[in-house]
Amino acid sequence: MTTTEPSVGNAGRATARPAGPRPGSPLAAIRSSTRAARTRRKWYEIIGLTAPAAIVFTMFVLAPMGFAVYYSLYRWNGYGWPTEFKGLSNYFGELGAFRDPIFLDALRNNAIIIVGSLLVQGPLALGIALLLNRKFRFRSVFRLLVFVPYVIAEVTVGIMWSLILLGGSVTDTFLNAIGLGGLVTGWLANLDVVIWTMLFILTWKYTGFALILFLAGLSNVPTELTEAAALDGASWWQIQWRITIPLLGPTIRIWMFLSMIGSLQVFDVIWVAASPAVRSLGASNSMATYMVDHGFNERQWGYGNAVAVILFTISFVAALLFQRFVLRRDVDDARTGRVN
């Protein structure tokens, strides 16, 4: 970084300053050049410090989505440059994704997982969070135990449950023992049941995530409010219902957002817990497993990328709509409520 290099813009400004030293004086030259140097240095810093993150992010997160759009217009085995242009036929053609019943199954399964996660995990986690937010002895031990499913890798969770749910294994024994033997079915083999089994496993795994967020949100609820309400004779239930839960609103909405994006990309648990055969029949697949099955495993790169684009578009539109109509209020609240 040289400091002597004159900068046109700043030199001009320096001469225009009425109170400054006479134009052309050595002092003015030094001052303007140091200011120019400082501005230049600032920009060097801005660029130098953000560029690594911006480049890595652009190259490995955003650019691949751009490539996906391009590849999805071709039939391509992945080698060389794609040449066999097919237009939108990977999407809407005779053999396109939207005409494949197995892909439509994947869409339905993703929808089941999104809605099921929101409807089951939310209320469940809220109830547990309110419970664990009460002060009682050994509370921290309970908190630790309840988070365990969230920490274990998805793959491990999938393998674990596939062994527990195996026909004639511990689940069936347990159900027989408590007199519910009539319910026993092929949890991972019955094509009508397996997606609900997946939803169950995902619920076990991810309720802990909602719980962590809710407990964090609850710790932000000022105790003065609840104590004041208690002094006024409000019951525990009234306090939760009228004060705590409404104040938890922003947290719940952020969790809904994260849960939705997460449900759209569900892959690991389904990949390992249900057999590939069950998956390929559409009983337990998701958009992500369908994409990897066809794009990566069967080397139909154009088609797989079309599925990627569909997955991306659904997520992106859903995320923007959610931000626009649900999260926006929170952002505005935060802005007006900020102290400084």
């Binding site: 810093e45 690594p52 997160v61 590849y71 309970f142 890798a153 407990l215 949100g217």
Partner: protein, 284 residues
């Protein structure tokens, strides 16, 4: 309910609560760790024992299954691979993230909000969506089947969340501190290095923990990128072991238990950190 107590409550902040609270808490805890306990105990049984009585306790206790896994070199190099990848990812995310967040928090310049918004686009769609073209890109860059082929994309995936968590924290450090540093002759980078970084240690640990856990547990990217046996991480190892030894239920249970162990130990140490970190994310 507890408010009826005649004792001043403040002197007993952690009193015994009603039995119902404990019943519910124990039920929830049992559902959470029951399956995990089953898997760990199952590793101490033989496959024969498990077949005869799926829900029984080990009788007698068998230690050889666990010791076999611990003598299996695969387990150890998978553990090492996971460690290398998660460790490098964490360092990469924290370094790149804090530099970018520092600029976005403490420099005033045209286009700042645009750059911030640009990074947050990454939160609007799942990383899995781009996995196929990402794999092709890595292949063309000769990064497929290498540690870096997993590390660099994982850094990229984790950057948006990291920046979103770090920026408000760095912005909240009072400007007076920066002015004082300037009076003492520190330029902005000096202020960053000597004052801001030490002050932000808690939040840096937070984003580091999040990045480490995400990388340690990740499956899809390593599944596509790491083809060589010698490079595989623990999640891939768990899947391969269960596929290759599908008749050896006890072995799978033991392998799975040992694969869970590092994460569980890590979590029991860092639990408060993880919870606090997500709290920070919720606020931001």
């Amino acid at each position: 309910m507890a408010a009826t107590s005649l004792l001043p409550r403040r002197r007993h902040p952690l009193h015994w609560s009603s039995p119902l609270t404990y019943v519910l808490a124990i039920a929830v805890a049992a559902v959470s760790i029951g399956p995990v306990v089953y898997v760990i105990l199952g590793g101490f049984r033989t496959t024969g024992q498990i077949a005869v009585d799926p829900a029984g306790l080990p009788h007698p206790w068998v230690w050889s299954t666990y010791s076999n896994v611990l003598q299996n070199s695969k387990f150890w190099y998978q553990l090492r691979n996971s460690g290398i990848i998660a460790g490098s990812t964490t360092i990469g995310v924290v370094v790149l993230g804090v530099l970018a967040a520092f600029v976005l928090a403490r420099y005033t310049f045209r286009g700042r909000e645009a750059i911030y918004t640009y990074f947050t686009i990454g939160l609007l769609f799942p990383a899995a969506a781009g996995i196929l073209p990402l794999y092709l890109l890595l292949r063309d860059l000769n990064l497929a089947d290498s540690y870096l082929g997993v590390i660099i994309p994982q850094v990229a995936f984790q950057l948006p969340l990291t920046i979103v968590i770090l920026r408000p924290f760095l912005a909240a450090v009072p400007g007076e501190l920066e002015d004082a540093a300037a009076v003492d002759g520190a330029n902005r980078l000096g202020f960053f290095w000597r004052i801001l970084l030490p002050l932000s240690r808690p939040v840096l640990v937070t984003v580091a923990v999040l990045a480490f856990v995400a990388s340690w547990n990740s499956f899809l990217l390593p599944l596509l990128v790491l083809q060589s046996d010698s490079l595989q991480t623990l999640p891939l190892g768990v899947q391969n072991f269960s596929a290759e030894h599908s008749q050896d239920t006890a072995g799978i249970l033991a392998f799975t238990s040992l694969a869970m162990l590092p994460a569980l130990l890590f979590f029991s140490v860092a639990e408060r950190k993880i919870v606090n970190s997500l709290q920070g994310a919720v606020k931001g």
